[in-house]
Symmetry: C2
Subunit: 738 residues, 2 copies
Amino acid sequence: MKRNLFAVIALLFPAFIMAQTLKNPTLDELMWGGNKYWTLQPEHISTAWWGESLVRTGVDTCSLMADSRGRAVASSKAFLFNRDEVNAVLRAASPEDTLRTLQYAAFKGGKQTVVRLQSDKNLFEYDWKRRQITWMQPALRGTSYREFCAASHSTAYIKDYNLYVRTADGKDLQVSHDGSRDLLYGTSVHRNEFGIEKGTFWSPKGRFLAFYRMDQSMVTDFPLVDIEVDSTTQIAQLAPEKYPMAGMTSHKVTVGVFDPATGKTVYLDAGDPTDRYFTNVSWSPDERYIFLMELPRSQDKCELVAYSAQTGERVGVFYTETNARFVEPQHPLSFVPWDASRFIYQSERDGFNHLYVFHMEETDGKLRVSEERQLTSGAYEDLELLGFNTATRSLILVTNESGHIRENVYSVDFNTGRRTLLDNGVGVHRANLSPAGTLYTDRWSKPDVFRRMELRATARPQLMQTLQECESPWREYSMPEVKGGTLTAADGKTPLYYRLVLPVGFDPARKYPTVVYVYGGPHATNVKESWNYQARPWEYYMANRDYILFIIDGRGSGDRGFDFESCTHRHLGDVEMLDQMQGVNFLKTLPYVDADRIGVHGWSFGGFMTTNLMCTYPDVFKVGVAGGPVIDWRFYEVMYGERYMDTPQENPEGYASSSLLNKAKNLKGRLQVIVGYNDRTCLLQHSLAFLRACEDAGVQPDYFVYPGQDHNMMGQDMIHLHERITRYFDDYLKPAVK
Amino acid sequence: MKRNLFAVIALLFPAFIMAQTLKNPTLDELMWGGNKYWTLQPEHISTAWWGESLVRTGVDTCSLMADSRGRAVASSKAFLFNRDEVNAVLRAASPEDTLRTLQYAAFKGGKQTVVRLQSDKNLFEYDWKRRQITWMQPALRGTSYREFCAASHSTAYIKDYNLYVRTADGKDLQVSHDGSRDLLYGTSVHRNEFGIEKGTFWSPKGRFLAFYRMDQSMVTDFPLVDIEVDSTTQIAQLAPEKYPMAGMTSHKVTVGVFDPATGKTVYLDAGDPTDRYFTNVSWSPDERYIFLMELPRSQDKCELVAYSAQTGERVGVFYTETNARFVEPQHPLSFVPWDASRFIYQSERDGFNHLYVFHMEETDGKLRVSEERQLTSGAYEDLELLGFNTATRSLILVTNESGHIRENVYSVDFNTGRRTLLDNGVGVHRANLSPAGTLYTDRWSKPDVFRRMELRATARPQLMQTLQECESPWREYSMPEVKGGTLTAADGKTPLYYRLVLPVGFDPARKYPTVVYVYGGPHATNVKESWNYQARPWEYYMANRDYILFIIDGRGSGDRGFDFESCTHRHLGDVEMLDQMQGVNFLKTLPYVDADRIGVHGWSFGGFMTTNLMCTYPDVFKVGVAGGPVIDWRFYEVMYGERYMDTPQENPEGYASSSLLNKAKNLKGRLQVIVGYNDRTCLLQHSLAFLRACEDAGVQPDYFVYPGQDHNMMGQDMIHLHERITRYFDDYLKPAVK
């Protein structure tokens, strides 16, 4: 009798059965940083290219997966070498040393049977055929940064604020001597804007080292405080951060070139560095010239400038791009492998990021560089230039030509510009191209495919091997249905992409509390045609707690062209909010969305959006959680801030109208602001000033901080944070338990 | 019909009628800092003594209230002078100057018809009979401190870290020259412990100025940050605070004596000031000697040391008191007016604060000081020595001899020690004694009397006049019943006093959420026999929102003798919590207390107690709000911290077991920690370290900060804060609304 009743219930309510038989995932399982995260993830296959052959680099073993023509290798012939063999040879040379893993093995090209490896005590090269160490150096200690140059076996490194080079034969050459917190050498500059991610640039053959030098003595300190104390430090310590705020005095950057052979440095003769940006350091293949892209502080112009690497002489300005809003170069030059006189320049100047062929030549010792032709065009974005297939004279790149939220691999014929789709044309693909560009590994997913890893050719669309097929690791867990769709932006024409995550056991007759997750700022996207439309683990967690999640990428976000991203110029937040409200209006048409229980959550720019939405639409959003928010763009840094907002002096109205200090008084719902106490990107001043404004206005936000954390939470704090965010919505957005 | 029904309801539920007819008080009305606070308070009568006559000092008028024998003055004879008269004379001497109020008029004694007044531009003396200004000086500008000496008409003041004296004839003499943030002159020292409230001490006749000099160059800075920015300061500024933490290097204090006549300073020859405290600076009446009470850092000893004011020579140690726990001198010497060779020394050495008569004499130019006799004794506390009645040779003081939670005025016969109760023997009395000690104004209240102001004699118990009778300003508001009572401490014998605030419209058949308000630390009391047993405004507010409030003063708190207060030595929190739990156990016996909804709230030491109780009894307290809490005594300062806890090196177990960092993991209920972001007393490090511990332990406290606020909230933030505290209990302690 009981069994029958159960069967009837199961028939009528299949979700009931699911809920009974499937596990609810925990944050510890779902999130990176969780203790159980890795136990559930499918095996990660790490690979490396040995010439055009593909090697699987396991912890213990390196074995061939494909030969240089992409063909599978019989297992009997696949084995190359294992870690025990290496360690036996290593320890003979360096007692008590240990190589921990082969995963990061770097293979020499051609027929050489040599890999570069890093053990506990040494950096070395090992010939697995001869079973001998062919080169060895003690590992560097006490450095804050290192960049190894494979061509010269030299390492650039930073120690106590000064830049050094360790040569192939183990000599340590000191490049700078006056480094300090005020004067940095070899570090990333301009707060990592303009595509800058590092501060050392080896020349192609490794003979020279270009490097950044940043004088920030004139930049104000923000008084960050390190409160974490131990037995030796009873009292908190000041940990100041040089932080140039919008409109304030900025740092001064120059570029030096060090010659290890002479021990001498020349600085590029760029003139007064005040209020200028120097980015995308590029070497000519012959190591004679360095190209910089140079912007004035106003960021409305970008010049391509060549310098003599030998003398530092400014050879000339060879190309200039201007834009009334801003120019944002993000890619260094890519020299064409089969023609050292031609390089690829990337620009958004026609409205979308595309490739241009430039030609350089020397006539009577005089360098001339000129634009030759536009190679790609169309209302889509070239997202990543992976490299070149030298044999076919083509470029291999990732674009979203197949669809706004897709990322596919294409080849582009260098001469004709003809584009050929190389993959299946759907979903999102991450590619790793072989050195000569004939093959690539393709890790991809689409909304209903969790993950595939394939080996593909580039000469023509061809699947060589399927390397891995991963099913979702969540089959034994209750997981939500995720729907993708499009809406129209507030301009009445632009299509926007959204993701709707339905609660587990979704019942369309019920009304659910709904949380809008938002980022909304430049460079980023939240909705792609990848697995579950790029749903984030926390969304699965919330869907298991009877929430609907909604995410839409509005104007101002990335990958949709210059105008889509820059239409927010000088008034950040306004257009972005209008498009989020398009999403909210859509949600209100859904009978299963409880329009009285709409919440919003976002981090960083999304924290700005969340706070802004809570204060601008106080009757729409009942609950918000704003992480690391920008509150007033006056408190943000020069490079990013002035690109989108100009300076406070130039755009006082824009700064005033976007300042959430002025909107704090409108707050009605429950808003929790959460920050990393040691946030070096979006300073504590934002959230504290917002609290002060709320206190003065007599409104009541909530607040939380993570001492020791920077702009984004790391490790177990990610779990703690998401428990916290969830609890806040549980407390205030959910209907009271009956 | 409807009216009849209403009448029946009114008959059955009188509280229903009250709720209909009385107003609910707002925080803005109830609390100091609220916009409507002063509109509801009864008129404050400000008075001053003119000799033994009592003057009412209004904003506009000064008039006699009583003659020198305490008799009422006929209104026709009462008028002395008004502000318009003064301003007319003032402006003739100083154009466009204004005297704003007469409330702070300081009368010369005897028959002189002269008052000292401070106008916008001048400090001056005015003879109201002759209608002329008899002395005048421009007001000091840009000083951080001033102390005027009426005897010499000189002012000590601090400007830019240096100490100055402005003489009666307007000369500015610079006392110190090397003042800085590291080296302070004339300021309070030792973080205001040991009764220290200031740093300058004029000699009785005003010929010399003794002052503190504090070298804190060796003290670590705590990196406080001032985030409040304006148009001129876009980025937050460091505002470091010299803060010696328990066990760490402390400052060094010396005492100087400046002679304005010579411009020279001598320093008292106290020897190496390292790890020593110098307190209760007292001048001998003849200005020849300065007495200090000196303690070693261990605070287990106090020496009474005399110095020559002329030479700084250390004349001798004349009295030593020791205690294995601590000695805490809090009162300077009081010389007997009719006998310059005798002074009153106060000590807790017999277990209660009492008075001792000391004798000093010079024989052959050699000073001798000795204890003569104990003047008061008994199991009660001498709380405040108001002064002396010279005519009757008696001391006038406030004690709690009539009852632990009472404060009454007594006279003590100097020769016989006989004590005479001067007031009504109940309630709490605040007295202001006349210069010759024959009369005093007595502002008093008791649980059922809101406030009375009387004029009383000291020669014998005699009410001379009733000056003011104030009824509660809350008669038109719904106000709770407040009950007082006693319980027995966890030691099974000591009586403890509590206050129970019942909800407005109390229904004994209901079950109410209940909040324990707690301080619990030394020096303080929360329950006195004053109006409503000293109930705080917020308690009235909460009682209007259906809460019961409960407050009990346990062992470790003040006014109950040395052992009561110091039994917590080396393990702060333990005994204090046991006694709070006696209160909770009592609450659980009350049928109208909802034992599942008990909350706790406190500030400072009370924040420590709140956090401690939440983490120690996680199944008892459902919700807590901890303001400005101490979290780990290692982060508290040397003087207070080591008195009660010794150093971390001496008492590692005590520090470890009282550290809430170690207890954070036990948190189960909802706990909100609230702090002033610029708290210089209980540093931000406490709360941030607690958050870090909670995050590491995976428990979830809540947090809030008030940027710009110090240890205690000021102004409108007090209202915001109490809205916030109330909301937190509403959110989590109250039953869900049906």
